[in-house]
Amino acid sequence: MSSRRRINLELVALAAAAFAWLVSAQGFWESLLRAIFPAQPMVLMPRDTLAAFVAQHLALVGVSSAVTIVIGIPLGIFVTRRRGAEFRSLVIAATDLGQTFPPIAVLALAMPVLGFGFWPTVMALSIYGLFPVVGSAIAGIEAVPRAVLDAAEGMGMSPSQRLLRVELPLAARVIVSGVRTSVAINIGTATVGAAIGTGGLGVPIIGGLAVQNMAYVLEGAIPAAMLAVLADAVLGQIEAAVTVADSAATT
């Protein structure tokens, strides 16, 4: 690991710690928002602490992103195999379509089946975040040079050895960048989950809009934005770590 990478890693860890401390400092937010909105009698949503909203939000994003990754990457791999080739355009069309739906509509559709709360939101978010992951898995694998695959096959690697030792390592950077996009979308979109009672940073935002209290809105929006930036930085570190010595980024 280069010293520059180590410094970046330390910076990201520091930022994460600062974020954790900041969202648990209820008093800080109280005085900050009161300074901005002196006329507001209530500046923090009383339903939960900010730390609790952040924790709920992280759970939503974490579970749905995990589902997205667990489904999306294998799906992308499958359609780049000979067996799955005929599903390639179908899968791309379907994940594309999933993304054109407004998340709130997906929630409305999911509700009758899964009811209120956490799981319908996770489902909506997972579908929503699928396209960048599937798309990047397909793009990353298909970008592996033909000659490299030919060498791998000609030297006697089995199909699974080719996938694990050649294709995935070479596609890793592109796949992680897809995950990065997906998580960023996810953090923003997860706020709509509050509409069906999932909790998270959407609660003060939607609640604040309902009672016309901009202080509540900011209580949700500022940490959500910070969380998005932080998650992007963390995944950026992972992306750098999986970037092989020779990839489009370094040559």
């Binding site: 490299v148 000609g154 030297m155 006697g156 690697m157 050895q161 020779d246």
Partner: protein, 376 residues
């Protein structure tokens, strides 16, 4: 060692390879050559089953290759393609160890093997083993490609235009190094190229193909001297005489030169030169210093004044250079003969223009009444 029996490969209505039969003996370099689309690469790829023949049989070591699992077969056949086939995410050592790792070698054995192979292909192990392919020049990458194919010491090497992406100067260097390695290792090699000079240089046997059909399968000398048909004749080109020179090595035609020691007096010089006009001047340890022109030397001449001092590396050839190298060196310097020295500049002999001429015309028969095209 490798036997192709009546191999045909069709793609729909197209016939890429048309009932081809070849037999390649152990330790032989067989070059498949022809214009693009002639089926040479398809033929090579059928041997390691990257392509399955539509009909016919291929035997390696008298075993039908279809009776082996494809992966097992391939691990026993070294495979070299252009340098872009190196794995970009693995170091040089990692690339070389791909097949040993598939075969489950011990780590220490792999480490030793990497160093051994890098030395064999002329790369310093300490400088190269941890480099990534993108840090290598085209020629270096190609050497690593050859080392990688040799890693598990397969008896057979399949090489698909391995030097095609390298500039001409480096290509010649790689070719002569490959020839050196092959003299040492004696692998059975199937080598695909579209470069006739490369084929003549490296092949024990050349298989010339056209439209999936074998046109001639013979030694380079036979192909040059007796092309089987007009296609082969044209393919080989008009400069057959020059090409023949590529096949002859300097050491095969060199003769012992007239030599005198440095500082010899006039009489010794004249005796040493005998009837020849030039005599080479050497140090007591045999190293070449230059030569002296005996013409016009008479009583009272100072031999030192007639001495032409040279940088041996610039004015001599090596015993394993080809006669074409020797000829081009002679023409470049304007000499009628050229000294042959070893690595330490020790004079071994000389090659004369007359010897080159002999080699050029040898076996040169009149090419008339060629059989019609297609008849092999």
């Amino acid at each position: 060692m490798i036997r192709l029996e009546d191999i045909t490969r069709r793609y729909g209505d197209e016939t890429a390879v048309d009932s081809l039969s070849l037999e390649i003996a152990e330790g032989e370099v067989c070059v498949l050559i022809g214009p693009s689309g002639c089926g040479k690469t398809t033929t090579l790829r059928m041997i390691n089953r990257l392509i399955e023949p539509t009909s016919g049989h291929i035997f390696v070591d008298d075993r039908d290759i279809l009776s082996l699992p494809a992966e097992e077969l391939r691990r026993g056949l070294g495979y070299v393609i252009q340098s872009i086939g190196l794995f970009p995410h693995l170091t040089v050592a990692g690339n070389i160890c791909v097949v040993p790792r598939l075969l489950g070698w011990e780590k220490s054995r792999m480490v030793d093997r990497v160093d051994e192979l890098l030395k064999l292909v002329g790369l310093d192990p300490n400088a190269y083993r941890d480099k990534y392919p993108r840090q290598l020049s085209g020629g270096e990458a190609q050497r690593v490609g050859v080392a990688r194919a040799l890693a598990a010491d397969p008896p057979v090497l399949l090489m698909d235009e391995p030097f095609g992406a390298v500039d001409p100067l480096n290509r010649e260097r790689l070719q002569s190094e490959f020839a050196r390695i092959q003299r040492e290792l004696k692998k059975t090699v199937i080598f695909v190229t579209h470069d006739i000079d490369e084929a003549i240089r490296l092949a024990d046997k050349i298989a010339i193909m056209r439209d999936g059909k074998l046109q001639q399968f013979d030694t380079p000398e036979e192909v040059l001297n007796h092309p089987a048909n007009k296609f082969v004749h044209d393919f080989v080109g008009a400069d057959r005489a020059l090409k023949r020179l590529v096949r002859v090595r300097v050491e095969d035609v060199m003769r012992s030169p007239a030599t005198v020691l440095d500082g010899a007096d006039l009489l010794t010089l004249q005796v040493g030169a005998g009837r020849r006009r030039f005599a080479y001047v050497v140090e007591p340890d045999g190293r070449l210093i230059g030569w002296v022109d005996t013409l016009g030397l008479d009583e009272g001449s100072v031999p030192e004044a007639a001495l032409t001092r040279v940088v041996p590396a610039d004015a001599s050839v090596r015993p394993d250079d080809s006669l074409r190298d020797a000829l081009s060196r002679m023409l470049g310097l304007g000499f009628r003969s050229i000294a042959v020295t070893d690595r330490n500049d020790v004079l071994l002999g000389e090659v004369t223009f007359a010897a080159v001429e002999d080699a050029m015309t040898e076996g040169d028969e009149h090419i008339s009444n060629l059989p019609p095209e297609g008849a092999a």
